[in-house]
Symmetry: C2
Subunit: 381 residues, 2 copies
Amino acid sequence: MTTVDHLRQVRLGNLRTVLLALVDRPGSRADLAARTGLTKATLSNLTEPLLAGGILVEEPATLAGMGRPSKPLRFHPAGPVAVGAEINVSHLAVETLGLDGATLERRLVPADMRKATADEVLDRVAGLIREVTGGSERTLLGVGLAFPGVVHDGAIVRAPNLPELVGERLAERLGERTGLDVQLDNEANLAALAHLWPRHLAGEDFVHVTADVGIGAGVVLGGEVYRGVSGFAGELGHVVIERNGIRCTCGSRGCVERYAGLDVILREAGRRRLDSLRKALEAGDPKAAAAVRTAGEALGVGIATLMNLFDVPTVVLGGSYAVLYDHLREAVQSELDGRVLAGGERHTRLLASPLGEFAVVRGAAGLITRRAVQQPERLFA
Amino acid sequence: MTTVDHLRQVRLGNLRTVLLALVDRPGSRADLAARTGLTKATLSNLTEPLLAGGILVEEPATLAGMGRPSKPLRFHPAGPVAVGAEINVSHLAVETLGLDGATLERRLVPADMRKATADEVLDRVAGLIREVTGGSERTLLGVGLAFPGVVHDGAIVRAPNLPELVGERLAERLGERTGLDVQLDNEANLAALAHLWPRHLAGEDFVHVTADVGIGAGVVLGGEVYRGVSGFAGELGHVVIERNGIRCTCGSRGCVERYAGLDVILREAGRRRLDSLRKALEAGDPKAAAAVRTAGEALGVGIATLMNLFDVPTVVLGGSYAVLYDHLREAVQSELDGRVLAGGERHTRLLASPLGEFAVVRGAAGLITRRAVQQPERLFA
DNA sequence: GCACTAAGTTCAAGCATTGAACGAATGAGG
DNA sequence: CCTCATTCGTTCAATGCTTGAACTTAGTGC
C-alpha cells in the first residue's frame, strides 16, 4: 500500500461523503462543500468524473438572490439502478431503486413457494427481474436478494419454512441466470436496512421486529446491520421467555415465537388471515383484541430481554406487527417499561414501520444502492 | 482536513500497526516489516521517534545464522505505565501494567464499601494508586477505573450494590485527586477486555460472563467491547428466563440473576462464602453440587438467549463462575446445545477464564495501555 | 454601466510511503 | 586473512490529493 494508494483511499472516502450528502438531498457544489466540510475546489474535482460518467447531472441554474446562481447536482434520472428481490413463503417480490432513493418499478406476486425447488424459485425470480428491468437502458448495479431464513456467505443455512432450499447457493445461481451481481441476505436484516437507508427513520440505533411465519429482528448498531459471526444474530423468535414453556420446532422450550408468532395470534383469534384479523380488530372483536394483547405481552418480554442485551433506544415494529400496532403497543410498552433496565430514565421508544409490505424488497434493493455509495469505485466499473 | 493531515493519519495508523505487532512479541525492524506488511524503510522511519522517546529499546544484536545480525526492538523496560483500579462491594484493587503487558505491581485489599461515601472510596483508591506508583519515575499513561454498575459518560448511572455512589462523576473526581487521566468503565466490560488485551484468549468474538453480586456479561464484537448507547448493554443478569418467575429488584420477574446469582447459589448450597462452597464441592457435597447444577441450568438458558441474539462462537466463564466451572459446565453446555440455533452445526465453545481475581483490574489497566497503542499520538505528549 | 455578491475554477505547496540502491555487519570457506 | 554470500538497516527521489488564496464567471440592484 503505497502513499499514492492511501491518497486514493482518501479520495474514495470523500467521494462517499459527497454521495451520502446527495442521497440526503441534491445540492450545488458550494452547498455540498458546506455540508461535507470539504472545499469548493475539492467538490469541483470530485464531481467532475461523476458528471462525466452519467452518475450525476447538473440542473439548470436556479435564480435565487444575489451572486452567481448555483447549479444544483443530483443523481442522474437515467443513472444506475439497483434491483431488490424477495423470496418468501407465499409471495415473490421485486423492486427497482435509483441511487436517489426513488422507487421505479415494483411487483408483488402471491405464490406458494413451500414445495418449490431452487430452480423453480430462481426461474420465477429471474423472470420478475427481467420484467421490471426490461426495456430500460440504465446500468444495473446488482441484485439484493431477501430470504426468510438464516443466510451466511451466500448460502442458505437454515430455512424452517422453505426447507427445500437449505444449502442452496441462491446468490451465485441467480447471478448466473441474470448476469448480475447478487447479494443474499436475511429478510429481517433487509427490513431493518430499509428503515435506515436511504432515509433514516429512527435517527440512531434501533431494532426492527417483524412477524411473518417466524419472528425476526434486524439489529442496527452504529448505523450498520449487525449480522453476527454466522448470520444467526437477532433471532428474537428463539429468545426464551418461559424456560419450561411450550416446545419449539427449534428444539428449545418457551421461545417467544410460540407465544407471539403470527400463526399463534391468528389461531387464538380464530382467524385464518391477517386481513381478516385486522377487520375483526377494527370491528371491536374482543377475542381478536385479547389474542393480540396476549401476544404483545410475550413479545414485550422478549424485546425487553433484547434491550437489556443490546441497549438500543428504539424498537420499530414492522410487517404484521405494524398492521397490529394499535392493538399491540400498550402491552409491549408496558413490558418494556417494567423490564428494561435503562427504561427508568429513558423510556424505550416504540414505533410502527411506515413501509408496509414492500419493506423487505426495498431493503434488498437498498443493500445494493448503499454498497454503491459506500464503495464509489463500483460506479466507475 | 488537509492532505497533509490525512497523511499524518496514515502514519499514526501505521504506528498503531507496528505497536500492535510489538505487543504480540518483540522483533527487529526487518521482522516487523515482514509481519506488518510495511517496508523496512518505513519501519526505520516509524521506530526512530519511538526509540528517541524512550517507548522502545533496541536490544543488542542477536547472533543467529548468516547475514547482518538483527537488533530486536521491544517496549522499554522503564517506559510508560498504565494503572488499573477496581472499586467493588467488598474489596479494592489496583495494578500497574506496562505496554508489553507485564504486570508490575498489584494490590487487592478487602474493604466493605457498601456504605462508604464517594470521598472515602476515592481517598482509598488514590492512596492505593500512590502506593503502587510511588518511587517510580516511569510516565503514567492514565488510570482505568472499574466499577460494579452501569457507567455512562464518566458517571455512575446504576449501582444496585453501591447505591451511595449513583450519580457521582468518579472519573473526574479521581482525576483531580491523582492528577491523572481517568477512564471509568463497568467491571463486566473490563473483565471481558482483559481476555482480549494484551493477549486474545478466544481468538475471535466472545462473551465473558461473571457473577459477583449480580451477573454481568461483557460482549466483544469485532474485537471491541460493545457497550450500547447508554452503557446498559450485556445486562445478562436481567435477561428473563421465566416471565412470571421470581420478582427481581429491578422490577421485572424471572431474571437470570434470581436463579444463577452467586448469592442464590450460596444460599441453596447452605454456604456463606465462595471458598467454602468450593471446598464442599471438592469434598463431594451433593447439596453444593446440586445448587451449582441448578444455577448452571438457569445460566445456560440465559446465555442461550444471548447467543441467539449476538451470535458469537465462544462464551468465557469468569469470576465465581470460573471457580465453579467444573461443576457448572455440563448444565450450561447442555442448555446451550439444546437452545442455541447455531449450535447444531457449530457447537458453542465454553471456556473457563484463567485470569482469576485480578481479571477486572487487569482489564482496567489494559483499557489504558490499549488506548495508548490505538492512539499512538498519546505516547508523544 | 458599475458595484456587489456568490459560485465555481485554477494552481502551487505540502508529506509519508515506497522500491531500489547502498552501506553495514556477520558467517562460511579457502 | 581475504572474499563471497547473506541479511539488516538507511538513504533518496518520486508520487498524488486536498487546500486556500487568487481568479473568473454569472447573476442582481441601482
